[in-house]
């Protein structure tokens, strides 16, 4: 976006482009709901993944700390929402109170994870974060004893949907002759949140903190020599990334209405990593592209490959879920082999990889 402004600037054209994209994004659910409301739900999940990928991008892309347990923060946010707005504890707080709480608790978890692991670099950190994610999941699974907090593997159901005054996000309304379903309302809300998150990310990237992250990522020792407090900078990356995950988790809980530890398994963490890596670590637009691609392509495959197999062989040979996972695996391997900086590489990464050859 910045580059567009800087380069051969025709601000009018730029704003026209932004407006066109905005209109297209706002109108998208109408088009999708013509195909089926399922697709609006898929779009919602895609936006949630964009939020997650952007949050993880702060940790992995900006600060260069590979986090394989990122889904734990998503889980923390989701459970925070579910506990505070479901019949399980009989609470029903409004979402604008719970989401910040969820974000804060997730950020706290980010610091809890970050503080003891600051000394570790690279692959060790990856394994520890992975272990952390698993620990959180095991606890969610077992905290139904001796006091029932999470309801264990059963999960928490009947989570309250968002509502603002009379506006309820779970019902279908008719406005000006248009049918507005619940998922569509969520879509616009998610879109708004996404825009806010993208703007925050863009501002962060070129801020003092953003440059400090970049410095830590490139060379921690040199960064410290330049007077950067690497400890707090890294903790901040963990906390901020985690809080975005927490917000996304809260929204996930409310949209689904039901959560269980099943939704927060290791594979989900890896999926988010795959999105960031595929799109291009450190590049916000790349990360968004990666998240959208890896959310939609498997769904499209699900709707095309399954009927195709039925037509060709008369039965399902390969389940769509398996194709999806194979696709994730292949994406990770092929991107690293063929285009290590991702589909839309960040300019810094590109420089870095070009320099890597010379070294």
């Amino acid at each position: 976006m910045r580059r567009l402004v800087d380069a051969r600037g025709n601000p009018l054209l730029l704003w026209a482009g932004v407006a066109a994209v905005a209109v297209a994004l706002i109108a998208l659910p109408f088009v999708l709901s013509m195909v089926g409301t399922t697709w609006v739900r898929i779009a919602n999940l895609a936006v949630l993944y964009v939020l997650l990928a952007l949050g993880l991008n702060i940790v992995v892309g900006f600060a260069g700390l590979l986090d394989l347990g990122y889904i734990a923060f998503y889980a923390v946010g989701a459970y925070a929402y579910a506990l505070l707005a479901s019949p399980h504890f009989g609470l029903n707080l409004p979402f604008w109170i719970i989401l910040p709480i969820g974000a804060a608790v997730a950020a706290l978890f980010g610091v809890i994870l970050g503080a003891p692991t600051l000394k570790l670099r690279g692959d060790y950190l990856a394994i520890v974060t992975l272990g952390f994610g698993e620990i959180v999941r095991i606890f969610l699974n077992n905290l139904s004893q001796p006091v029932n907090i999470t309801r264990g593997p059963q999960g928490i159901a009947q989570i309250a949907p968002f509502s603002i005054g009379p506006l309820d996000f779970s019902t279908t309304d008719r406005v000006l002759g248009l049918t507005i379903s619940g998922p569509m309302k969520y879509y616009w809300l998610l879109l708004a949140v996404m825009v806010v998150v993208v703007v925050i990310n863009l501002r962060l990237q070129n801020s003092r903190i953003g440059r400090a992250w970049e410095a830590v990522r490139e060379d921690e020792t040199a960064a410290r020599a330049m007077g950067i407090d690497t400890t707090s900078v890294k903790l901040l990356a963990f906390a901020m990334g985690a809080s975005f995950g927490g917000i996304a988790g809260g929204m996930f809980a409310s949209i689904q209405g039901f959560i269980s530890p099943e939704s927060f398994v290791l594979v989900e963490s890896i999926m988010v990593v795959a999105m960031v890596v595929l799109g291009g670590m450190g590049n916000i637009w790349g990360v968004i592209l990666g998240a959208v691609l890896l959310s939609f392509v498997p769904e499209i495959l699900r709707w095309t490959v399954a009927p195709l197999q039925n037509a060709l062989f008369g039965k399902q040979l390969v389940e769509p879920e398996v194709i999806r996972m194979l696709l994730f695996g292949l994406a990770l391997v092929l991107v690293m082999l063929l285009r290590p900086a991702g589909l839309l590489p960040s300019s810094v990464r590109q420089r870095e990889l070009a320099g890597e050859e010379a070294r």
Binding site: L120, D123, I127, I135, N142, V267, V322, G329, M336, L337
Partner: protein, 328 residues
Amino acid sequence: MDIFLQQMVNGLTLGAVYAVVALGYTMVYGIIQLINFAHGEVVMIGAMVAFTVINLLAAGGLPPLAVVLVGTACAIPVCMLVSYTVERLAYRPLRRAPRLAPLITAIGASIILQHLAMLVWSRNVLAFPQIIPLKTFSFLGATVTGVQLAILGICAAIMCGLAGLVYRTRLGRSMRATAQNPQVAGLMGVDINRVIAATFVIGAGLAAVAGVMVGTYYGVAQYTMGSILGLKAFAAAVLGGIGNVPGAMVGGLLLGVVEALGAGYIGDITDLCRYGPLARAVGERCADGGHFVLFGSNYQDVFAFVVLILVLVFRPSGLLGERVGDRA
């Protein structure tokens, strides 16, 4: 006391399996500083291949031991081939890339292997046919099964064999040289790529044996069994000091014992009803010999990760390793 001994025996058996898997991690890490994420899946494939073979032969009337041996003999080359392929396609092209690149392809390879295995062997839990007669021995009040004894024996043999390989043979010397400094080793005439491939293949052979052992010990196999086992074995390797062959053995056995004892006692230790003032605070649930267990044995899987995190935080070089935390 009986329970303690019993848990020790169970823990040592489990730990012996961890140790054999951990050897694969530690050898690869020692040489190219890569966490071979796909290693756990190789163990799983070993168990699966053995399952197929044992299932086919079970009705054939061969002696059970021979059936298991044939199963293992089939699993080993398959695992070696899988591991070699992964190394060749996903790791070797990235030898000079930044450290995180091969780690990410390793994760990708692990996902691919897991789901290919699911396509071949279905997503069901596969039950090994019960062909080995259940023989039990009594040892100071603890019960030891024949399978447990066999696992312990095989693991001891593997460890001795591997130590001999690494410290007594030409290949072992090449491996140690490559681990110290690949460039110089190359200049001295060591074919680095061959040595690295050999390391992967040897690790895969061990993984196959471990897979068969896990399969026959628990009697089941599933396509997801590799990832958690792999993580625990990696934790064992880190505990012993990654890159250090004896360390992996010590770490594996220790982790197995910690896990078994932890699972056996954590319920008692965290039962608040045992502690006077706390029991009063808990109130009526402690009445009539009731329990208020904070953490039960279902937290067994947490121990490995807690150990992993504690070791990395307080002694990143592990129990026997040199200092590598900074390099990591």
